[in-house]
Amino acid sequence: MSSTTYVIRHAQVLGGEPADLVLRDGVIAEVTAGGAASADGATEIDATGLVALPGLVDLHTHLREPGREDAETVESGSRAAAAGGFTAVFAMANTDPVADTAGTVEQVWRLGHEAGLVDVQPVGAVTLGLGGQQLAELGAMATSAAQVRVFSDDGKCVHDAVIMRRALEYVKAFDGVVAQHAQEPRLT
């Protein structure tokens, strides 16, 4: 696929004037005025009336696998994402089992890799079982094949201030990020 050349004709890059995009070896090799690019052996795609954007990233998705494959799978979620222009999705950790171990995040990552449509980046749970009591093995998830860098308990919220502080400090060791659903459970 990467050795193929594509010419996308008359696309409005970021909503601007129509232009031709020449894609070679998987990267944008050239941008010309609409209709000006040479088609020499390339696959042509007519994008008249369409807008070209960079691949979108969704930092907050629920792909439900493992555990709720009846609702969604990594494969079906990947397909929906790709259809909507997303090239990377972050899959939240509230699966069954919870994505709080290297094993589970690697499973989700591998399913995404096998689907092959978008980058599926598992989000690791901050606390064991999203329970808010004890840190999950964040380092093990970070060094796993999934290379997890975003951690969140999502809707469960990390509501213990000490646990949150420790998590924020701890992930510095591998340039991690903690994403917080900012809700105080005792008030809501």
């Binding site: 004890q134 093995e137 964040l138 093990a140 000490v162 646990i163 420790r166 701890y170 060791a173 591998f174």
Partner: protein
């Protein structure tokens, strides 16, 4: 030297070398079956321990006795201290008993400083570990051990690379070691999870890192700090398994150290946690030797603070 030893920072390079050289001399003397020197005959050393530490107390006791001092062990357990007697009242009691030196171990950081500078006692104060603050004689015995193995037992530790790994946040050993080793010219790197490095560590005379594997190949010595499992409950790290995997010294990591590099630990060890049993018992492990050197170094400290020779003007800086 100053009158007290409260912090490793109380020792400038000359003081530190004087202690190490004196310790080497004393070690030689006591090796030669002269188990006891008359140097401190008639002087009284009090071991004032508000916190259990049999190892440190025994080491100071052996040091004082080998110099023929009279030793009084004053343990807070079962004493009036546990009934609420203040540090001041205890100090006044010791002063009345004629203590020439008070070796103090206290759970509160700064207690030795208070004891030394409140005018309660005349004698010298030696900090045997205060809270999470300092443990200067431990750093001296560590430097002594390093010098033996890495510098032919002489001079300073200029350019030697020392990796100190573990719970720096709660470690008085790490703090004193960083100060003393910097004074002796060594380059120290502290390795720990970010949760176990103290706020402000960037102002210490050392480097820090979260990546143990990056600081093995060029290390002359790797010192492992004790990590208490209870820290896990306070969320400093997720699990014992993850701690050992990221920050434990196992055979795989030890194999990456240079051939001449030594493994150290102030004890007591958590085998299987911060250090694998096979590493603790490896030929390059000098952990048992550290204990023996502790007595020599503490003899030197007591000798220099009390014995007289080359004590300087005895004033406080």
């Amino acid at each position: 030297m100053k009158r007290h030893l409260l912090s490793a920072a109380d020792l400038d390079r000359d003081d530190a070398l004087l202690v190490l050289d004196t310790a080497a001399e004393l070690a030689q003397l006591t090796d030669r079956a002269v188990k006891k020197l008359p140097t401190l005959r008639g002087r009284t050393v009090v071991n004032l321990f508000f916190e259990d530490s049999t190892r440190t107390r025994i080491s100071f006791e052996a040091a004082a006795k080998r110099l023929s001092a009279d030793v009084i062990n004053f343990s807070a357990k079962g004493s009036s201290v546990s009934k609420g007697e203040s540090l001041k009242d205890t100090a006044l009691t010791l002063e009345a008993m004629g203590a020439d030196a008070v070796v103090i171990r206290h759970h509160a950081s700064g207690a030795p400083h208070r004891l030394a500078h409140s005018g309660w006692i005349q004698g010298s104060v030696v900090n045997a570990g205060d809270g999470t603050h300092e443990h200067p004689t431990q750093s001296l015995l560590d430097a002594f051990t390093m010098r033996r193995h890495l510098a032919g037992g002489k001079g300073d530790l200029e350019g030697r690379k020392i990796t100190i790994v573990g719970d720096v946040l709660h470690s008085r050993v790490a703090r004193s070691n960083v100060l003393l080793l910097a004074t002796l010219g060594a380059e120290v790197t502290l390795v720990a999870p970010p949760t176990l490095l103290p706020v402000g560590v960037e102002t210490w005379p050392c480097a820090t890192s979260y990546d143990f594997d990056a600081h093995l190949k060029d290390a002359d010595a790797v010192m492992m700090l004790r990590v208490q499992r209870e820290r896990m409950n306070a969320a400093f790290f997720p699990s014992a398994r993850e701690y050992s995997r990221r920050y434990g010294l196992d055979a795989r990591r030890m194999a990456q150290m240079p051939d001449h590099a030594i493994v150290m630990h102030p004890g007591p060890m958590n085998r299987g946690m911060e250090i694998a049993a096979e590493v603790a018992d490896a030929p390059r492990s000098v952990i048992v030797e550290q204990v023996a050197n502790g007595v020599s170094v503490r003899m030197a400290v007591l000798y220099l603070l009390l014995g007289g020779a080359t004590l300087g003007d005895g004033t406080e800086a």
